[in-house]
Symmetry: C2
Subunit: 616 residues, 2 copies
């Protein structure tokens, strides 16, 4: 069974028909990225993903990383893949060519990442972390620091990481205890222990640049006293040559549920008192600096989730078309000896597949939409417009990470279920996709943290909130004018109005003496926001698809046009868009309405129950 | 961190206060099982589970089973555990002492299984399958067959399995192709290949008795032509001594997502033409015979799910009480330097914990309720009463398997989330529990099959359906008279009325030309039935708890009685019962109401979408 990771037709639909990514080339910044160029990039990414990365997916899982004497080795096949990836200049797709990037729009880079992550996302975490670390150097580094580090990172010659977490400081970054003492030469001596460091040590690159959060002697407590440092694994001399090994020791790697191909390291800094680092950005500004990179990191995690879900869906769909098992329910009634059929004919399998499809498509649209907002921020010359899109990004990020990875995990679980017993064994990719996917709900701010961010910070951004409602309403208004979509439009309109009410209620409650209650509903609130965004994205897709479908097969009713659809892949695709929206709005949104009811009620049982009454 | 698997207080509550299991001892059959005896059994099961089985849980996962030259070896530590388990006579707890059983009520055996499975359920599948296979021999075997096999199985001296699945015959058992040809001596020559055989080959026992589904030459096609055979791994002579090895070869074991401690085998029967079997029961009666054992097997799978969920909950609860991370949201507002707190103080963690608690408790009540119904069938002398409880069991089994294992998996995922990054690593048990739990949604009839069973067969059992509604209504009526529960009662009443409407609608639709549509909603229908059963079980618990709580701490309002509750563990437990019901009915049931709306609508998108429009 050939794995194809993601549906190219769907990616193209989102890129060109929904987001109109080729329009970005009208700006000077992205002038090279016309449709032809974008097509080439996506095609090339898809080729590398399928031919070079996908074959390493199982190696990552089954061989995993090996730790010995402070050194970590990745599976052998990762080396060739990394070489090709580096040569293709894929590490810093969106960054400045001056520093080794490709200057692509984010939206286009997301399409490439859609394939790359779907092929082997544990592998992708090596260049992914490098890119993120490079961004910090680019944003906050001195010219000298940039010259010393940046190009080697963006070109993938060196690796990068991010050292935040400590055993007692996970979600609460402010509790970290790693210290930095200024030396006479302007460097800092760093001492501390970091854990859960993805790509923290490995043998794909000759040097690894660690951005490290630490506390300068005498700094304030909490997040206000945290600074950011560059700590290279091997010291980089002023002329750019490599010096001595720094006092950064990998003390072990984690045995995990999934993403075995990525080394999750414990790093000891300065255990011999000789770990040197360079201050990156301002003293005590580390948290704010980190936050600037957070949106991108969280969007990437959402993409990791989507990639797992998308692969799982495509695999399940192929399997359902090929696996013959059981009889057609209706035919069996008239003929007990009717032949067995591919399981895609069974109603329960269809419902599962359509659920998976709707989420995969809705999520893809959401992530690319965040991408295009970021691109518009870059190309816009109007401060107002920049602020508008920045607001959209801020509000959507917790959904694009928290809501998306929850749904992605669910999709992966359904992807196992459609395979039956075969879904549970390692011969097929489905169970690995679920295990890999599970971490996306935890890292880069656990999904509970995302929900708190949405309720506690983002909901207050009133302009952005109302701007997003406005965007949704535009789609609803268009849908109302399209034959066959009127009912979907008015249902979503009702749901959106209710969400607006829920938002006001939650905002008020969060500022009242019932604040704790409100936060006990932060998660359901994120879920209903996500559901409405999904419905919006899917209706938006349907609004684009319906007129095109009519053009292809005429304005007939479904049963009349059905035979045409079977013969025309484009028509079939557009029909599928309308069906995803119909399914989601009719069969998922009613639960969202119920959940909004429960949020409006904000029952206090979770806060009232005494700790002791939890039992145990 | 000590693992305690399940909350003894809760098990005792369900056994004595909710199900009144000690009343069973008034019957002659169960006269030995008074409260003291039950207490001893549960205590002993808990001791063995915690001291002997739990320490082998990780071995099972990490060492797994080894396959070499047709032989399978289990982890070394399993041998001692199995020895003790056998010596304690735990294999056939509910069966006739004449054949080596203990004659216990099912309800009591479930309480023991609650602990055993929570400690290491992959291990428990060895005696579990043996017990199930023994039941087939007991129910359908000749006296001679029983003498030859049964006692050795029920005492755990020999193992047992169940050989149904073949590569092209999973959910569709009727498609199996294994053949049986009658020999002159009355035995049958069996030829075929079976896969996914749990406990199919291992070194815990000297012989394994395989019940095998096969087709006698010339038998009708489909399920009507299937017969059941006993195929021993080593032939058993008429005097009970072991003869030659039978022609049953283990050709490999599966690499799986979880339950590594249990060997999932491919077995080749008769590859040398020498596999002999004995007909068990009647010719072509194999499917019906299997069905008689199905309810028990499915209830056991529900228990496996509960055990994973219960362990995961207790672990998460202990962790949340100990793990200090982040500040109290409210205190932080007034004092930014307020100390970090155990994460159980965070609203989102409380909501997650209370969700887990409500499901674990509701599921426990449901499974034990099925158990007590089975016990009442056994002790009742009235055919009418027997039929009533049999009906309850039939209707509840697909929920106790399908709905329960879905929720158990969700609970296990929440159990990971509360641990944060630590939940994803193998140092803690949470991720194993999730991986182990995942198979419960697939085997013994996938959950999609359970949903079809509920809609297609069980919904038609009108007496049983209305009898169950009646039981629910009794609880609601009682709750209406209890201060503080009135509102919960009327909410559940409304939901139950709506479910009744949904049931009628689904029954009609399933018999109409829209049958395929109805079956596309079989799964959501199972889910809403399950939700209502959960709410019923939880309200039932609250109905018992509320008056006892009042007795302990007076009829004060919650805030007045709170300090008393903190000091009194019993009062705390009862308070917890009321809170679980409140949480579920206020915050989960509204989604159920929404889901019922979507079922009533029965939108046809999943059936209408052309196959080609799924994409790929």
């Amino acid at each position: 069974m050939a794995q194809i990771i993601a549906d190219r037709r769907d990616i193209d639909f989102v890129l060109y028909e929904q987001m109109q990514a080729e329009e970005l080339s009208k700006s000077e910044i992205f002038s090279e990225f016309n449709k032809k160029a974008i097509d080439m990039i996506v095609t090339e990414a898809r080729n590398i993903a399928i031919k070079e990365l996908l074959p390493t997916q199982k190696d990552g899982d089954q061989q995993g990383c090996k730790f010995e004497n402070g050194k970590v080795s990745v599976p052998e096949s990762f080396h060739r893949a990394y070489q090709l990836f580096k040569e293709g200049e894929w590490v810093a797709m969106t960054e400045d060519p001056e520093w080794g990037g490709q200057g692509m729009p984010r939206t286009v880079a997301l399409a490439a990442a859609d394939y790359f992550n779907g092929a082997n996302y544990a592998f992708m975490m090596y260049p992914g972390l490098t890119h993120g670390a490079g961004k910090l150097v680019e944003a906050f580094g001195t010219e000298k620091q940039k010259k010393l580090f940046l190009k080697n990172m963006y070109t993938g010659k060196w690796g990068g990481t991010m050292l935040l977490t400590e055993p007692q400081a996970g979600s609460d970054v402010g509790a970290l205890t790693t210290t930095a003492v200024k030396n006479e030469d302007g460097t800092y001596s760093i001492t501390g222990n970091k854990i859960f460091i993805s790509s923290g040590e490995h043998d794909l690159v000759e040097n690894i640049i660690h951005p490290v959060l630490a506390r300068i002697e005498g700094a304030p407590a909490g997040t206000k006293g945290i600074s950011l440092f560059i700590v290279p694994k091997i010291w980089v001399n002023d002329d750019g040559s490599l010096g001595q090994a720094n006092d950064v020791v990998c003390t072990g790697i984690e045995e995990k549920m999934g993403i075995h191909g990525n080394a999750t390291c414990s790093l000891s800094l300065g255990s011999k008192g000789k770990c040197r680092g360079l201050l990156l950005g301002g003293e005590n500004k580390g948290m704010n600096e980190m936050f600037l990179m957070m949106n991108e990191a969280r969007l990437l995690v959402g993409m990791q989730g989507l990639s797992c879900a998308s692969s799982s869906y495509i695999n399940a769909l192929n399997y359902a078309r090929q696996r013959v098992q059981g009889k057609n329910l209706l035919l069996q009634l008239s003929d007990p000896n009717s032949p067995s059929v591919p399981i895609i004919e069974h109603p329960d399998v269809r419902r599962e597949l359509l659920t998976m499809k709707a989420y995969v498509e809705g999520i893809r649209s959401l992530l690319y939409y965040v991408g295009i907002c970021e691109d518009r921020i870059r190309i816009s010359t109007s401060e107002e417009e920049k602020a508008k899109y920045q607001g959209f990004v801020e509000v959507l990020i917790p959904i694009a990470k928290g809501y998306v990875t929850d749904r992605a995990f669910e999709v992966c679980s359904k992807g196992i279920q459609i395979f039956g017993g075969y879904g549970y064994i390692k011969e097929y990719p489905q169970e690995q996709l679920l295990r890999d996917c599970r971490i996306t709900m935890i890292y880069e701010g656990s999904n509970g943290i995302q929900a708190m961010d949405l309720l506690g910070r983002k909901l207050r951004m009133r302009n952005a909130m109302s701007g997003l409602y406005e965007e949704g309403r535009k789609v609803i208004a268009t849908a109302k004018e399209i034959h066959g979509l009127e009912d979907l439009a008015s249902r979503l309109e009702k749901a959106t109005e209710k969400l607006s009410k829920v938002g006001i209620h939650m905002g008020k409650t969060a500022m009242s003496f019932k604040a704790m209650n409100a936060f006990a509903f932060a998660y359901p609130f994120m879920e209903v926001c996500g559901d409405i965004v999904m419905a919006w994205m899917l209706l938006w897709r349907a609004v684009i698809a319906a007129p095109k479908l009519e053009k292809l097969v005429g304005a007939n009713d479904f049963w009349e046009r059905r035979s045409e659809i079977e013969k025309n892949r484009n028509a079939a695709f557009y029909e599928g868009q309308i069906r995803s929206a119909e399914f989601f709005i009719h069969s998922v949104l009613p639960m969202t309405m119920g959940k909004m009811e429960s949020i409006l009620e904000t029952n206090s049982a979770a806060m009232d129950i005494p700790d002791i009454s939890f039992g145990g």
